[in-house]
Amino acid sequence: MSLAFLIPAAFAALAALLLPLLIHLARRSEQRPTQFAALRWLRQKAKPRHRIRFDEWPLLIVRLLLVALMALLLARPVLHGGESHTPYVAVAPGVDVAKARAALAQTQARWHWLAPGFPQIDATPEAANASLPSLLRELDSNLPEDVTLTVFVPERLDHADGRRIVLSRKVDWRVVPGVMPAEVAQTTPSPLALDIHEPAKPAPGARYLRAALRAWQSPGQPAPGSVKHFAWLEAGEVPAQVREYARNGLTLLLDVDAKFPEVSAWTPLWRDEAGSALIEGAAYGRGRVLRFTRALTPQAMPQLLDATFPQYLRDALEPPAAAPSRVPSAEHAPLTGGPTFPIAPRDLQPWLALLIALAFLLERWFATSSRRAVAP
């Protein structure tokens, strides 16, 4: 365990120690005039003593301490090597702790949940969709190199990364029976449907949308019952009834000529290679309003002819669903060879601030107590 200072130059502030010293320096130059009739028997000393003296020692010491502590605070002290070196055992939520304890022979170890904040094993971890590999990497970077890490995971792992975790140390990867808690809110992607409204004269862009709609639907899949997306390909102002649909949760896809005056701030949802927006969107009531920024013709918007158009349109209409992230734990043991990080030293500033507050209170108590005679 060693002490270090991040800003050693701040020790120049120790020069402020002179201030209390000067304040407390007994004012020797002051010669109090004293009436003294028996002067005849008073003899001047050949050499009067000129020893430096200070008034009120306790108060002076407290004030010096206060100034020194403040200089120390400015120097940002940190403590290296204060970490514990006992083995660390992380238990993923869902693992039976009793079984895990039985599985581990080691008696002296720190037991923690593999959950955000790494709560003690006695506490119940909060249900959260935290990424387990991310937690493992955090734990790995925060532990000193020589600490052995044992991880208990259930047979099936949710929220796994796309590849195996790479850590800096060898991890004792124990798989015990158990089930990870269910995800808090898991939505299954629904088949997408788009209802297209076109004016009496068929709009040229509708065929591209229909093609995209057909591309989304797999051959054997039944058409979805409820339509949540509505394409409005008529020029001019959007009727109030349609706006009302959008306000109540419908996603409205507008043609470039359609007018929707109630929305002024549009966010780009799909950009072309040059960076200009092709589809813009905005929230409206409980639903959304999207619009093409160009006419739905291959001349104005060549992307209509691309094979990726249905995919981009679908992404704009509905955010992409999460990638699969469930793996058998036994297959997902972490690899070694990851980067090692220096352990962040412990910051001593909060403790120092507390000490300064105490010293300040003590100083005020000394300075304002009624026992004092004069005030330096």
């Binding site: 010669q31 109090r32 009436q35 002067l39 000393k45 003593r49």
Partner: protein, 304 residues
């Protein structure tokens, strides 16, 4: 509460006044002689023991006229008797500037305040036993003198005189002290209240004692002179000579105390050699302590 001496009547603290009961003003020169009063006397006045008749003079009290003799002789005669208490007590107060010195611990109680209190106590004793008492304030700008007398009105005059007394200047030169020799008669009691720092005062005392006056003295010291409690730098100022001395109190303490004690011891020896009764009074002591030493039961026993 007023400081001592701000009102005419309060020179004597009540506690001290209560303790004055068992004190008596005594003079060794009157010891052993018989008389009606406390002290032997040859002077005439009103009293019990008949001394002589004398012719009436304007201003004599009518009750003093012997009316039977008037009936016989058709002239006014006044009966005179021996005075019973003919002792005259002279209170000499040193009013030089050094008497204004006071302790830091008790501001307002200067040497002169103590001298006034002691003088008032002695006057009270004299008044109680019928002795005459007078006051002399000694200062270089003129010696103020209140002729001795007895009675309550004399006491009021005495206290009034004390009230106006202020300390300044120096000890008077020998020429200015001439009224002392003219007015103080042989056998009178002289009490000098002073700090005793002036050689002139010791001179006057020894010469008065040599001239058959009963001299007593109370040396009034401040507690700071006795203990020298100074710490740190001080500029010591002698109010009479104007000399100044810079010094560190703690460094000078031991030597000053030794020298000052030695000086006091020498002075005491000189006073003893001249037969002068003396007492020392420090400002933090009760006011009747020096009086008890001078007039206490040990000396008063000779009168019993």
């Amino acid at each position: 509460m007023n400081a001592p001496g701000t009102r005419i009547a309060d020179f004597i603290p009540p506690a001290v006044r209560a303790r004055l009961k068992d004190l008596r003003l005594t003079s060794r020169r009157a010891v052993g002689l018989q008389g009606l009063g406390l002290h032997h006397s040859r002077s005439r006045g009103a009293g019990l023991e008949f001394a002589q008749y004398r012719a009436y003079e304007p201003g004599d009290e009518l009750r003093q006229i012997d009316w039977k003799l008037y009936a016989r002789s058709d002239r006014f005669f006044v009966r005179e008797a021996e005075r019973e208490s003919p002792l005259a007590a002279w209170l000499l107060i040193d009013a030089s500037a050094s008497m204004a010195q006071e302790d830091k611990a008790r501001p307002g109680w200067s040497r002169l305040s103590a001298a006034k209190g002691l003088a008032a106590c002695i006057a009270e004793l004299a008044l109680r036993q019928g002795d005459r008492f007078g006051l002399v304030a000694l200062r270089d700008d003129g010696v103020r003198l209140l002729a001795p007398g007895a009675g309550l009105r004399q006491r009021d005059r005495f206290l009034l005189e004390l009230h106006g007394l202020e300390a300044r200047g120096q000890w008077p030169s020998p020429e200015k002290l001439r009224p002392l020799w003219e007015r103080i008669g042989a056998g009178d009691l002289v009490v000098l209240l002073s700090d005793g720092f002036d050689d002139g005062s010791v001179d006057v005392m020894t010469r008065l004692a040599a001239a058959r006056r009963e001299v007593l003295t109370v040396r009034i010291l401040t507690a700071e002179e006795r203990d020298f409690p100074f710490n740190g730098g001080h500029r010591f100022h002698d109010p009479e000579t104007g000399e100044e001395l810079l010094g560190d109190g703690a460094a000078m303490r031991a030597e000053f105390l030794a020298r000052f004690t030695q000086a006091r011891r020498e002075l005491d020896a000189r006073l003893d050699a001249s037969g002068i009764r003396h007492a020392e009074y420090v400002l933090d002591q009760p006011l009747d302590l020096p009086l008890r030493r001078l007039f206490g039961a040990r000396d008063a026993a000779e009168y019993a």
